[in-house]
Each structure stands twice: as structure tokens, then as C-alpha cells.
Amino acid sequence: MQRFTPARRLLSEFKCSLRRQRRCFSQVAPNVVDNNDGFGPKIPSFDYSPPPYTGPSADEILSKRKEYLSPAMFTLYSKPLNIVDGRMQYLFDDKGRRYLDAFGGIATVCCGHCHPDVVEAIVNQTKRLQHSTILYLNHAIADFAEALANKLPGNLKVVFFTNSGTEANELAMMIARLYTGCHDIISVRNAYHGNASGTMGATAQSIWKFNVIQSGVHHAVNPDPYRGVFGSDGEKYARDVEDLIQFGTSGNIAGFISEAIQGVGGIIELAPGYLPAVYSTIKKAGGLCIADEVQAGFARTGSLFWGFENHGVVPDIVTMAKGIGNGIPLGAVVTTPEIAAVLTRRSYFNTFGGNPVCTTAGLAVLKVIEKEKLQENAFVVGTYLKERLTALKDKYELIGDVRGRGLMLGVELVSDEKLKTPAKLETLHIMDQMKEMGVLVGKGGFYGNVFRITPPLCFTKEDADFLVDAMDHIIARM
């Protein structure tokens, strides 16, 4: 597949110049969107036809969900999408219609849906041995742990396997508390780290926090370049962490946890200079630095393999999940041998963690990322996409900010550029329309007004063009 077509770019630039006069305003206009076979951008071609779908319809599924699943379980879109098949960066609904997956199952499918190498590895291992636990030896866990450790800097080379990001962060927090003998942990406002008791404390958005005891966590001012009071001055924000420690704790803490680019929080890249300053403060207070790489890890940021590397720091503990297995339930915590030893005081055991199938899949993912140069692709295509989105921002006042790195990008919509009033309704509307045009994006941010674009890393420039053109097309008609 072509990743760059000069002719197409010229054509889209031409189209842009024709529409340059149109601006969008904050009222939600009635829905008049062309179909894929009318006017408007077309999804790039793709040589794959899903098998015909003969399963339950969307309505049948919805009614079963209402009856048997959580009442709080939500779907995107006014008319929920029944996704039955996936291939690389595309998803297919029950009618066989193809969509560009610009969300990646929430930054999870990194190699591509049903990537042949990964599927082969999974299938072969499943046929041999699904599960035995680490009570017995098996090479898969050892080989994957080694390969994973080799991707990390410093002395980060002891791996613990879990089944999710929440489990990984919970374990990281427990390790930090045990290692230091302290309880206080600092996380950043607007962060998301999980939904179990410790991680719910570290998570810092009220919508995800239930009214239960979440002890020992302090939330620092978010070094948010777009909305934060200190703009992009990372060091000024870092002083808040110092204050939290000096005034809110005994002076010694267990640790600090953050994402390099906040995912759920709306693709907010921490202000430059923040992490190095904070890490230094934390170390002085005897604490450990935990880097949550659940979304930013595994080549997604393009420039470097891990999100934290973009900030020039080396954490003490790294947690990962989501992209680590291209969608298979898997998480991991990597730390130093010295810190890892703290768990030998008692027994920590994870029944499913490190099972042969998931670790085989994880190893296959690392190999695909390398073989197909997905990190480089994330950089090239991500940079291109960000440029095009930034051009779109210049065109429409509705777009308040375009940010992110590699293929972890965010587009924040505001109804007033100065006041930065979140344009929640418009976001919903555009998201729905994008789906009608064949593009699936994600949503995030505290106000729900940020598009999250975190596709499989095999995303191409043509896909990027399609996404931006679709957005352009929709906003122009609002």
C-alpha cells in the first residue's frame, strides 16, 4: 500500500483552497452528509472482503446488552455500530461496510486487526498449550520477557506479567509503597490509570471515581500546555509537586505516576521540562517514578519507542498494556532487580499472567513492530497527519488545538477560541458524521470535546488524508 501519493495531496490542497471561504460556527447544523458513493472523500482502497455475517443483528445485541450487561455500559454514536470483522487498520460492520479505524480499539490494536503474523502465533500456541501457569516452565514467557526487557533503557529488566493496565498499575503502586515503606503517591490531574481501588485513586477525573475510599494519592496540577495556567512551562508546574510533598506528606513519598501523553484525558502531552524536574523532586523525597505506558508505549509516539523517552527521563517502573498484545488481554510491569526484590517478602501470584498464548502474541507484536518499521511509520504518517490537522485548525475556529505525537493525536473543539469553551455537542455531531462517512475516531478529554486519533500503526498517508478530508467536509457543512 502506498503511504504517500503526491497527486492525491495536490488534489486535496486544491479542494481546500476552493473551500477556504467557508468557516464553521458553533451551531449544530442539520445532518446533510453525503454517502461514501456521493460527493465527499472516499475511503482508500483495500483488498479484503470479510466473510458474510449471519449472526445476531445490532438490535438483538442491544437488547441483550440492556438485559444482561452493566447498565452503565455505553456505546459510541446515536446508532451504535455492530463491528464484526477487522483487518489491519479497517473494521467492518454487520453489513460488510468498511470503516477506517482511527481509534484502534482505544489505542490497543497496534499492528493491525488480525495481523497475520500475530494471529498465526496465537493460533499455533493455542493449539499446543493455552495455560499451565508459571508453576511450570514454558519458553514463551521467558522469551517475551527477555525481548521486552531489551527494549527498555537502564536497569529496567525484570518483568511481571498481568492481564490488564489496571492490574499493572495496581502492582506498580504496591511495589512502590512496599519498596519505600511510604504510602503517598502523586499523580497528575486529568490522568487515567485504572479502575481498581489503588488505581482509581491515581485516576484523576471525577467521572471515573466512585464514592469509595481512595487513600494516599495526591493530585498535582496538570502540566497542560493548552489549558494549563502556566502554558508550556514544565518547570513551573513541577513546583506544585514539590509543594504537595512538602505540605501534604511527611516529606517522603512512595512515588509518582504519570502518562507521557494523557490518553483518556484528551491526548495532552505533558509540558516540556515537566517530567525531568518532577523526577528529580520525587527522587529527593525517596520516591519511585512510575511511567504509565499503557497508551503511549510500543512505538506509538513515532519519535521513540516509549512515551517517557520523549521527555528525556528514565523511570524506575514502567507499566504497559493495550498495544502490548495487539488486543489480547495482557499487561506488564517492568522494573529494576533491586526494586523487584521487594515482592520476595511474600508471594505474589497471577494465575493467567504470562500464559503461553498471550506472551507468544506479545513477542509476535514486538517482531512485527520491528519488521514492518511501525515506529518509523508512526512518525512519518503521524507528522503528516498532524500537519494536515493543523492546517484544518487554521481554517476552522471550531478547532481549538491540535496536539500529540506520532499516531497519538488529539483535536480539541471549542466554541470560543479565546475562552476555550468546550464544544461538546459539536464533537458528538462530528464524530457521528465521521462514522457515516466511514471514519471511526475516539473521544476524550474531561469535557468530552477532544477527538482521539490512535489508529493501528499501519495507518497510511492515504488514510490520514481520508480522515482529514472527511473532517473538513463535515465541518464545512456545519
Binding site: Y68, G86, L91, R128, S164, A196, R346, G354
Partner: protein, 489 residues
């Protein structure tokens, strides 16, 4: 802790060697022939110097060309941390599995009497489940519940249909720990109270919160737990009240009346404690305790991570053996025959409190695990695994009880269906745990071709919880092997 355990093991082994004149135990011939000899296990008595033979099995494992046990162990030590322990002095490199058997790197077959810790419920690489997983993996591994997909809905429906009462709202997670975490959250939100009650000797998870519910010091790190009360274990074998459920239940009443505000969030228990050594709660206990807890405004949580899915033989769910209906049921392990999957089932009423905020699980309910889970339910029903567990289980327990008459070291045989425990003691009156002997026999069983589990606070209980396709021949082989090994002690 692993290093400490190994040191203890080494010294107790040496001690035992000296005590029991170990050297007369004959060395076994190389293993390859074991798996092909016809079954003659029931006829040979343990006093013959011919060890019992594995039942025959018509399957050839694939040739193994991967890293050796030593290479793997070296990598584990380097990249997986010192806290990752393993079984056996010379750890076993398991490379393949089929139904109730496992194969090591040399192709030797073993009877898997532990099922990856009560997890492989239908059998390793069971064809129907394998097919469901493979087919779904080719279509769609993951998209999350923000889109619709039929697999999660169908599986939730099927699971709910197995539940009594109004238990029909399903939450999918990825492990037993996650399930119990969620159950605790629900209990606290629903009741507005904080206090949780769990049993001493229980195991409910290894995450920082479930460690609070877990009540075995081996697994408890020194971290704050919040308000959790560990009540006296209604243990018929070691408990001070024997099988008198009423007196144990009064303990719970006392905890509530003296140790809490009078109101609690909930009570959680396994019906047959797994990690704790297959301890079945004294009959009638749960009925009384559920009453007490509900009067104190609390909810009752049944941890079915090990006892669920027909394993007890007499009933589908462990809690049914005590004649109760919980408010929340948690499950994992056997639910997916080894897939990373867990679930919480509760009533619509309790589930509604979770709607106050957003609770989302990225991997939970993914198409592949849901398809696998649904296949598991179908296999259990179609192959009548529950009845099979009752049948083979009672045969196994019967034979073990006869063995108990023969060997003083067997202090107790307990359990139900294919969830069985054998507790070893050096003194039947004192019930002194026979830790060293258990360790030796554990190794011996492996040499004979049987992989069992170990449990109990003192590590002196054999846990027999095989894949539910375990046969009577397998049971005979296991008992004969145990008999043989014990006679040689």
C-alpha cells in the same frame, strides 16, 4: 519468599531423608515408555516394586525444538524476578497439553491433576473451545464495548441463565482478582458501609485491595487494607468447633456487633477454599452467615473462581451446595478453560449503583474470550461434565478414604466432585502438618507421572482439581501412585 521456601524445603528434605532411610526407593526407568503401556493400575498393589502406569491415551505430542528447561530457568531468573516461584526441585518444562494430560520437553506424558490451578476446566486444547477461539481470532480479536458485538451479549446471556434468583447482570473482567475487586466496590457503593468480612484461610486475589480479603500470611504484603474483618474459619478438620456451623456463625455476629458500626458492606467466601487447602465450609454455615450479614445491611458475595462450573459435581455452583443465593457471584479460572477471563454477576438493583460513574474495562468481554467462554459453557453441558465430576469425584474420594485407612499420614480426605484435598499429618491426634513428607511425596508423584497441586497454610495439603474430563482410570492411577509413593516413605 521463594528462596526462603526453597531453603526450608532443602533442609526438611534432608531431615526426612535421614529419618526415613530414603535410599531404598528404587530409581525409575526413563520415562518415554510410560505413556504407551496399557492400564493395569487397579490390579497391582503398592507393595509390588512395579510403579502404577498411566492410563493409555491416543495422542502424539508435536516434537519440541524450543529452548531447554535450563535455558528457560536462566532467562526466568534474569528477566522475571526472584519472586516468581515454581514447583519442584527440578522444574518441569511443560510444552503441550491435551485434555487431562500435559507433556514435557522430552514428550513424556503426565496426568494433570491440578489443571493449571483449577483453570483448565474442559481439558487442555479441547477441540470445540480451540475452534471457537481460533475462528474468532481470525475475525476480530478486539474492538471494546464502545461498539456492539454479539459474542459478549450471547455469553452474558448464557452465563446469566446458569444463575439462580435475580442474578443476571454480568460484568466481564480479566481475572479473579479484578472480579473480586469489582465485587468489593459494588458492595461498598450499594450499602454505603465500609466493612468487609472474609474467612481466615481464604484467598481472593493478589491485587492490593483483594490482598485485604485474602487471609493467609504467605500472600499478604504489609500494606493498608481498610476495614476488613477476618472471621474464624468454619474448618471441619482443624476448626475449634469442628462442623458446628452455628458456633462459627456466632463469631461473625460478634465481629459485626463489637468490631463495626453494626452495619457492614459485605461478606465474601469460597464454598470450598482453594489455596487454603480444599477446605469445605462446615455444612449450614453460609445460610446462617448470609442471614446475619444481610441483617447488618451487607451483601453476600460468593467467590466461585475455583468451585464454579460444575466442578463440585452435586451442583453447578459451589454456593448451591450450601443452599444459599448470594447477591454477587465472582468467577474466573475455569470460566474460559485458561483464557484470561473473569466475571461478576449480580442483581439489576446492585448493578444500578455502578451507573453513577463510568467503569470501563478495555479488554473485558472481548470477542475472543467471550467466544471461548460460551464454548466452555456448551462443552460443560453437552459433555455432562457436572455429572461426570460427581461420578468420578465420588470414586476418587472413596478410594482416597480407603487409602486413609491404610496410611496414617493421611489426616483428612475432603472435598466434593473434582475439588479434592488430602491433608497429610505426622500425628493424627495433634494433626501436626507433615510438611516435609508432603514435599517429598509431591516430588515422587511427579516422577511417577502425576502433577498435583499443593495448598494449605502449612503446605501440607494435596489439591486434586483436574480438568473435568478426568476419568476413573485416571483417578485409580493417581491413588495407586500415591499409595506406591507413601509405601516407600
Amino acid at each position: 519468599m521463594a528462596m526462603l521456601q526453597r531453603r526450608i524445603l532443602k533442609s526438611t528434605l534432608e531431615e526426612a531423608k535421614a529419618r526415613f532411610n530414603f535410599n531404598c526407593y528404587p530409581l525409575l526407568p526413563p520415562c518415554a515408555s510410560f505413556s504407551t503401556l496399557p492400564s493395569s493400575s487397579t490390579t497391582a498393589t503398592a507393595h509390588d516394586d512395579v510403579p502404577p502406569q498411566l492410563p493409555p491415551f491416543d495422542y502424539q505430542p508435536k516434537p519440541y525444538n524450543g529452548p531447554s528447561a535450563d535455558e528457560i530457568l536462566a532467562k526466568r531468573k534474569r528477566f522475571l524476578g526472584p519472586s516468581l516461584f515454581y514447583y519442584y526441585q527440578k522444574p518441569l518444562n511443560i510444552v503441550e497439553g491435551k485434555m487431562q494430560y500435559l507433556y514435557d520437553e522430552s514428550g513424556r506424558r503426565y496426568l494433570d491433576a491440578f489443571a493449571g490451578i483449577v483453570t483448565v476446566s474442559c481439558g487442555h486444547c479441547h477441540p470445540e473451545i480451540l475452534n471457537a477461539i481460533v475462528e474468532q481470532s481470525k475475525l476480530l480479536q478486539h474492538a471494546t464495548t464502545i461498539y456492539l458485538h454479539h459474542a459478549i451479549a450471547d455469553f452474558a446471556e448464557a452465563l446469566a441463565s446458569k444463575m439462580p434468583g435475580n442474578l443476571k447482570v454480568v460484568y466481564f473482567v480479566n481475572s479473579g482478582s479484578e472480579a473480586n475487586e469489582l465485587a468489593m466496590l459494588m458492595a461498598r457503593l450499594y450499602t454505603g458501609s465500609l466493612g468487609m468480612i472474609s474467612l481466615r484461610n481464604a484467598y481472593h486475589g493478589g491485587s492490593s485491595s483483594t490482598i485485604g480479603l485474602t487471609a493467609l500470611n504467605t500472600w499478604k504484603y504489609p500494606i493498608p487494607e481498610g476495614e476488613i474483618h477476618h472471621v474464624m474459619n468454619p474448618d471441619p478438620f482443624r476448626g475449634v468447633f469442628g462442623s458446628d456451623a452455628t458456633r462459627y456463625a456466632k463469631e461473625v455476629q460478634d465481629h459485626i456487633e463489637y468490631g463495626t458500626s453494626g452495619k457492614v458492606a459485605g461478606f465474601i467466601a469460597e464454598t470450598i477454599q482453594g489455596v487454603g487447602g480444599a477446605v469445605e465450609l462446615a455444612p449450614g454455615y453460609l445460610k446462617q452467615v448470609y442471614d446475619i450479614v444481610r441483617k447488618a445491611g451487607g451483601v453476600c458475595i460468593a467467590d466461585e473462581v475455583q468451585t464454579g462450573f460444575g466442578r463440585t459435581g452435586s451442583h453447578y455452583w459451589g454456593f448451591e451446595t450450601q443452599g444459599v443465593i448470594p447477591d454477587i457471584v465472582t468467577m474466573a479460572k475455569g470460566i474460559g478453560n485458561g483464557l484470561p477471563l473473569g466475571a461478576v454477576v449480580t442483581t439489576p438493583e446492585i448493578a444500578s449503583v455502578m451507573a453513577q460513574k463510568i467503569q470501563f474495562n478495555t479488554f473485558g468481554g472481548n470477542p475472543v474470550c467471550s467466544a471461548g467462554g460460551l464454548a466452555v459453557l456448551r462443552v460443560i453441558d453437552r459433555e455432562k461434565r457436572q455429572a461426570h465430576c460427581a461420578d468420578v469425584g465420588s470414586h476418587l474420594i472413596g478410594r482416597l478414604r480407603s487409602l486413609q485407612d491404610k496410611h496414617d499420614i493421611i489426616g483428612d480426605v475432603r472435598g466434593r466432585g473434582l475439588m479434592v484435598g488430602i491433608e497429610l499429618v505426622t500425628d493424627r491426634k495433634e494433626k501436626t502438618p507433615a510438611k516435609a513428607e508432603t514435599a517429598i511425596l509431591f516430588e515422587k508423584m511427579r516422577e511417577l507421572g502425576v502433577l498435583v497441586g499443593k495448598g494449605g497454610l502449612h503446605g501440607n495439603v494435596f489439591r486434586i482439581k483436574p480438568p473435568m474430563c478426568f476419568s476413573k482410570d485416571d483417578a485409580d492411577f493417581l491413588v495407586d501412585a500415591l499409595d506406591y509413593a507413601m509405601s516407600k516413605l
